[in-house]
Subunit: 342 residues, 2 copies
DNA sequence: ATGAACTGTGCAAACGTTTTAACAAACCCA
DNA sequence: TGGGTTTGTTAAAACGTTTGCACAGTTCAT
């Protein structure tokens, strides 16, 4: 490996000069700079990242901490898009991305400690947003640059990027109400996740404002899994009084719902109208296409990376909570009026 | 930050002794070791990763290099599962994972050079497997620990993990043949990708061995996008003589195919039977569920990470090509006989 | 009893950078 | 002409580890 010293020797200058050439120091003469650059090119010099990090105390690296296995599938679909947003922005800003998936809670804090205190990364993007997360506690206490994709009430100083999930769920529900539905159910996710709580609130507010009944048997809590949607259907459709419209916490769950309904012999949207969340690419291709709240997944990731880097580079970042706008994409699963070809 | 010297001072030993305690050097006495460990615990010592890497010349980090944007969506679905396999194994082996997505070809070689020559990572997992890839050339020439998920003929020394895609396509096609189909088409991907070539070969071999016609108008090349499947249908179903069975290169494309057929008023599998590849979670939930070749996505990732780490740690690794078994998952899209509830 | 082998520890060099302080040379303004 | 400023460069310390070598003390076989 060719080092800064090798270059210096060949160029007949000191190592410090070479270092300054690399970092475009203003007080280097044109000639020296050109000569050194030429020699670096010729000899194929690449700075040793570790040595640089050691002295500069910055690694130009961020870490993404994935949620624990319980929420595993949750990732699988809109996760790719989120990642793409994060990677695009961080690459643009010259940061590398470290990806860590902890298997156990103990493991998780162990891993993050290693990254944080071992000075391996400059900042952390958290994807999990459980209520009362000890990991967030830890990062907050040490004032380590952190951004949360999601929401936390307990830590006002932690930067976060989120949707207005309450409003999004309100909008989804209101859309069904406008379509004439009066009996509207909700297939939710794990109540420990803030996103599930927020959406539940919005769902209830929409019903309340419209003067419609809030019936607890029409609310089913599950996971971010297809099976949850599938199972919810055998329950909901077995009720003496059934909902005619359904808000579903996630597109993948929506697919399960669709499958369940089909097997039970019901038609969407005729027997039950459907709106779900996240707008993954495949919702458009469901049979029928599923109406979904687009949460700006790519932008969520892009923005998270952006404000994290800003937090690292500038001292004072004032805005701590960023809201990415959502929008409802209406498809056949929630409108009766579309002519169906078949 | 508390360093090894701080610990040494408090424990009344030399820094070297502390270092040896950390690395469990055999010639450290029980008492010293225990005392030092206790103090480390108390003072919250975490080794500085950069300093360690600098002297040990190993970073305990691997990089995943994602394919360029053209293949972007290709990732999105089975990518999550692949990633999970890689992350699980590398975490288990004590390696961190760096994720990089290059935007341009120039960018790509630039980024990888930086990682490789800057000694930032110990090994690289390549996800793209284009024919004649300059990146693979470069890594091969420098003998940098690399494993390719996919296949390359030009570089016999590069480790690779792959499916037997030729056989998989053969199996998919043979399955349709067994179902009685004699006119079988193939919706393929970009011909620059080895995976598309391999599957094409297998498809053709199956037809040849069964004495069935290979008709070039029944083969459509596209991308790994839903739209490709959708478009392929308007073409194929507009032919004077149409296929009655179809092999599709990817589940997502299969979703597009399904959508296209539905819009055109055809029924699956009655009018056209379908088998595709990758077996993403949602293929089970398509309407009808799509028969798919499970390529062992998780294991593909897990194995890639495993042999890369072996290559890094041991000098001589003999086996250079690893084949992950596939299996056909038969669902309704390819069998007439299932009673349909509706 | 004596040298050999082993055990436990410390010193100091090394890894490849960045950066502070110092300094010589050139330039500028009166 | 001389002091001050600017420009271009360097020497050397520092970042936090690891590790080869040295060495003192202990154990062991003869």
């Amino acid at each position: 490996m060719v080092t800064i010293k090798d270059i210096a020797k060949v160029a007949g200058v000191s190592p410090s000069t070479v270092s300054r050439v690399v970092s475009n120091h203003p007080r280097i003469s044109k000639e020296t700079s050109q000569k050194v650059k030429r020699i670096m090119e010729e000899m194929g010099y690449h700075p040793n990242v570790m040595a640089k990090s050691l002295v500069s105390k910055t690694t130009q690296t961020l870490a993404i901490v994935l949620p624990r296995p319980a929420e595993e599938l949750f990732q699988d679909f809109f996760f790719g898009e989120l990642l793409r947003g994060i990677l695009t922005q961080s690459a643009r800003a010259g940061y590398d991305m470290l990806l860590t998936a902890a298997t156990s809670p103990h493991d998780e804090s162990e891993t993050v400690s290693r990254l944080v205190f071992g000075r391996r990364v400059d900042g952390i993007i958290l994807l999990s947003s459980r209520v009362n997360d000890p990991l967030i506690d830890m990062l907050d206490k040490h004032k380590f640059p952190t951004v949360l994709i999601g929401r936390t009430d307990e830590h006002p100083n932690i930067l976060s990027v989120d949707n207005n999930n309450e409003q999004a769920a309100y909008d989804a529900t209101a859309h069904l109400i406008v379509q004439g539905h009066e009996r509207i159910g909700f297939v939710s996710g794990p109540p420990a996740l803030t996103v599930a709580r927020d959406r539940m609130q919005g769902y209830q507010r929409a019903l309340r404002e419209a003067g419609l009944p809030i019936r607890s048997e029409w609310v089913v809590e599950g996971e971010f899994l297809q099976q949850s949607g599938y199972r919810a259907m055998s329950f909901l459709m077995g009720l003496p009084e059934r909902p005619s419209g359904l808000v579903v916490i996630d597109d993948v769950v929506g697919f399960g719902v669709l499958r369940g309904l089909t097997e039970l012999g019901y038609k969407v949207p005729d027997d039950l109208s459907l709106v779900s969340f996240n707008n993954i690419a495949l919702s458009e291709l469901a049979q029928p296409p599923i109406s979904s709240i687009d949460i700006g997944t790519y932008q969520l990731g892009y923005t998270a990376s952006q404000i994290l880097i800003r937090l690292i580079q500038e001292e004072n970042v004032h805005q701590t909570r960023m809201i990415i706008p959502h929008r409802l994409i209406v498809r056949e699963s929630s409108i009766h009026t579309v002519a169906k070809r078949s």
